[in-house]
Every structure is written in C-alpha cells, then in structure tokens.
Amino acid sequence: MATKTILIGMDGATFTVLDTLVRPSGAEPPVMPFLGELLSRGASARLRSTPNPLTPPAWVSLMTGRSPGHHGVYDFIRAEEMRDDVFFTLYDARDCRVETIWSIASRQNRRFAALNFPFTAPPNRELNGILVPGFIPWRHLRRNTTPAGFYDRLKSLPDFEAKELAWDFDQEKQSLEQLSDEDREAWVRYHLPRENQWFRIAEFILKEDAPDLLAVLFDGVDKIQHQAWLFLDPSLQPEGPSEYHQRMRSLCLDYFRQLDGFVQTLVEMAPDDVQVLIASDHGFTATTEIVRINQFLAEKGYLAWKEMPDTEAARRREESMFANLDWKATSAYCRTPSSNGITIRINEDGQEGGVPPADYERFRARLKADLESWVDPETGERYIAEIHEREEVFAGPAMDEAPDLLLVLRDHGFVSIKNKTPAVEPREETAGTHHPDGIVIACGPGVQAGRQNEARRIEDVAALVLYSLGLAIPEDFEGQVPSEFFTEEYLQSHPVIEGGVTRSVAGTVTGEAMEEDEKDKLMAQLQMLGYVD
C-alpha cells in the first residue's frame, strides 16, 4: 500500500504572504524554500472561497465539493429562531447535509487519514480511515477519534501531548480580540508546538499506515495572521521597524519556516509519484475599521438591545460572540461577527417583532437600501461594499438556514455585533481579516510545471482530491477538476470520469425536522456551555 495523495490544508494561507516567503529577501534565503520548489514544479491558482470566506463553510465546501447552500454549514454558531427567542448552538459534523470526500473515498476502498479538519466530529465510525478531528477540546479527543484504539496509538508517540494539540476554546477566543503586545507574542508562540503535534501525527501515519490519502490541516496560519498581519503583509512593513516589530516578524517567519519543513518532510517521505495538493480555505488582508452592524440596525429601528442586569453573568453574555437582543422588538439583526450576515425574523404566527411573510420582500428591499445608503461622510464610499440576497449566493436545499443578506465590508473585515457607539470607527491598529482569495497548489505526476492558472473555486479541491485518487467525480458535485493543471497526455491517459451521485447522509439534522426533545437538548447544551443565560 502506498500513499497516492497528500492534501495539506493551510487555514487562511494567501499568496500575498507566501509569494514573498518563497523568494530570497536580500541576502537572506527564502523562508519557505520547499514551497517555492513545489510552486515551480507544480500548478497553482488563487482559490475563491465560499461567499462568506470563513472556516466552517469553506472547509466543509472543500471537503464536500458543494457550496454552503447545499451542505448547510454557514458559521461556527448555529441559531434556531424560536417564537420569542433565538437559541444558539455549535455546528458539528451532523449538520453537514452532503457526503464528504472521506466517505466517498472510503466506500471506494481508498484508505484515508484526515487530521485536524473542522466539522469531522462526531466522526462517522464506519469509514475506512483515520479521523482525528479539529475543533475538539483535548478531554474529548479520544472519543471523537476513529478508528477505536487509534488514540492509544497516538499516545504512544514520543512527546504526544493532547492538551497542546487540541482546540482550546479559551485560547481561540483570543484570535479576534485586541491583545497586548505581550499576549500577542505568546499567541504566536503557542501555535508553533501545536502545529508540530499535528505534523508528528501525520508523519507517524504516513510511515506506519501509508493511507491512499493523507490530509492534514495546519490552522496556525490563520490564527497567527489574525493577530500578526501587521508583521506579515509585505505592504505594511515599515522602513525602520521597532524592536518589537522585528521580534514579532521573526517569530512569525519561524512559524512559516517550520511549516515549510513539515511539508518537505511529509512529501519526501511519500512515494515519488505522490500527488501533493495544498489548499487554503480563504486568504487574508488588512482590516482597518470596526463596523458595528447591530448598532446601525438599532439606530435604524430594526432591532432593540436586551436590557441586562448589572451582574458578572450579564457582562459575560454581553461579551459573547452571538447577539443578545430584545427579540420581541427585533425584526432584523446580525447573529455573530463571523456570519457577516443579517437575518430577518419572520413573524410566522403573529408573534411580536417579526416581519409578516407577505411583507418579506418589501422589508428586505428597504433594509438593503438602508445598508446601501450607509456611507463614509468624508468620501461618500459605502461601508458595506457588497450586499447579497441569499438567493444569489446560497441557493440550494439548505438556503433557509442562511442569513437573508450577506455583507461584504469595504475592507473585508468581520462586523462587530456589540452594543457600542459609534457604529463605525477606525481600529486602533491594523488587524488581519479574511480575503476571498486563498490558494491551491498541485504538484506530482501529470501536473504542468510552473503553471499559474486562473482562479478556481474552493469546491474544485474536493474534485481534485478524488481525481488524484483515481476516483470518478460525483455528478452532483459543484466542484470540477481543474484540468488546466494537468498535461494533455496525462488527461488522455487519466480522463476525468463523472460518476453517480453522492450518497445521502443519514441523521442529518435540519431545523425543520428537529423534534422538540432535540430542541430542548440544544437549549440544554447551550446553557451548560454558558451561551444562554
């Protein structure tokens, strides 16, 4: 058995940064020489992310070849509109409505290992492969790892440390917070050993199991760029950097240097004819202003803030990452900063605050017009560069769970949902935010060397993975194999084959199908997690 495909995920990787790291800088050698080698030996393109370029929808699109309107994962936090309330819970693997590439490969006798991919827990334990999920606290990594017994194999690895490896909710909250210089430095340092843990597991599996498909996701790229974009964006580097700036940049480069070494080791361990695919879920850019969308909606009369007592619990709720509103007096609101969307509350049965279904289109048009007219008084430029109705960007069976309007801010930033004024203000310091253009690189047999291509879409990576495994592309895939990445000879000897449809996913939970006990359970979970007071 020999590994055919290595898929390396780099959360948030962008050519804006990588292009400079693969080249020498003055007398300094490249930070990522091996990635540079792969780029010269392989084909690459910018990779257009999902309409909201965010980890949950984007990685799920990459894992399924389907857009969010079909797979149904839109955000980290899932909301359920109730009569007089809104309940929040976390998305997980059960919310994905379509089959993943792990499942497609598994049922066609391809063994796989998928490491640190989000929304792979709870795992499908019937798959013929190894799943060590991302986004899971260390205490529950064993139970959410499959196959049974694999976690014990991990524990036998020298230096294996679950606490260092797994998702730490307290740590992750920091990625979008304004940190002190000291905390920001610690934040970057935290990700170096963490990525090393995932690399060691990938190395171990490649050596011991040699699955047909080895997929590992390094998510430190995203986390570091959120906090340290100022030190990485080539266009933001000052003439005379401070000592702190130099130290932070050096630390960030250490991270990328380490990552380059991980990629090199994994690729060199694999057989010579392995196909190497590298992809990110979105790119990165700079954000310079804070847009408090719910504050704007409050000023326009679309929502009302919930009055809270002066208690510690109330303060925690106010600082949480999802909206805390007077639902009876709210007709439109933004649920979470990461959603960059506005949800219209529908008045299905005469409850207070919602919009009657018959008024929906008129209401949404007025809301959209209000958002379009929100401009920078100094320049006349709209704060919200693009406003998409959900039919435009989330068409599909899962569209009902999407926000009614998707917003793209003029600097690509994420909105704030806090109850603070003013509704717009400059950030104290430039921060990193997601850009729609990520990366895709392919290298290996049949790939056209050194070819830079037109942008592809993130769903295409799923098709590319299946093609590299010699599998047919399901006919209901939205993603397509980027045939321009390959030589004519290779395509003739390895034609792209369209196969049957993907399999339906058992146990998919939808809002419409959710039973009362399930709703209660979600509420219970949220209260226990501290999401609901």
Binding site: P122, P137, W138, R139, H140, R142, R143, K155, A162, E515, D517, E518, D520, K521, M523, A524, Q525, Q527, M528, L529, G530
Partner: protein
C-alpha cells in the same frame, strides 16, 4: 437501585471511566453511583454534554437529558452518577 438499573449503572461507570481515563484525576475512590460529576470528577459543562452524547450513542437514540439536567429553567449544579442511572433507566424502559 433496582435490579433493572444495575446493568445501566455498570454501563455508565464504564463510559465515565473511558471518558476520564486521560484526564489525570487523582480519585480517592473508583467511579460509582455516588460519584459526583462536578465535585469528584471536575466535569465542566462541555464534559457533561459529552457524557450524555456517549450514553445516547450507546442506546442509539436521544434520551432527553434536559429533564435530568434542568430544573425550573436552571441547571443542576452537580449530579451523582446514580441519578443519571435512574434517569436512563426510566427513559429506556419508557416508564
């Protein structure tokens, strides 16, 4: 504890032992029906949820744990494993 509840107690103890095996707890006594999840095993809210999910996975269906964990809209502060055993017993027997 009734005769019917004994196998459930064994099951839940087994699940809890499996769940906490890597946590590095220094327990005075082995896990039993008198064990308190928070006070004795240092459970956080997410750990209680994971335990409930593990039990539900065993039975292959939802067991409505909210009725055990919530009283009058508030969460119980702690829970003995025996209380969970009795609850599961009622749920699976349909009583």
């Amino acid at each position: 504890m009734t005769i019917e509840e004994e196998p459930i107690a064994h099951l839940l103890i087994e699940i809890v032992d499996d769940l906490i095996q890597d946590w590095g707890l220094d327990l005075d006594e082995p896990v039993g029906v008198d064990t308190l999840l928070v006070a004795d095993l240092e459970f956080a809210s997410v750990d209680v949820i994971q335990l409930c999910v593990a039990v539900e996975e065993h039975y292959g269906r939802k067991l409505g744990f909210q009725d055990l964990l919530m009283h009058d809209g508030s969460y119980v502060q702690d829970l003995a494993l025996g209380e969970m055993v009795r609850f599961v017993g009622k749920q699976v027997s349909g009583v």
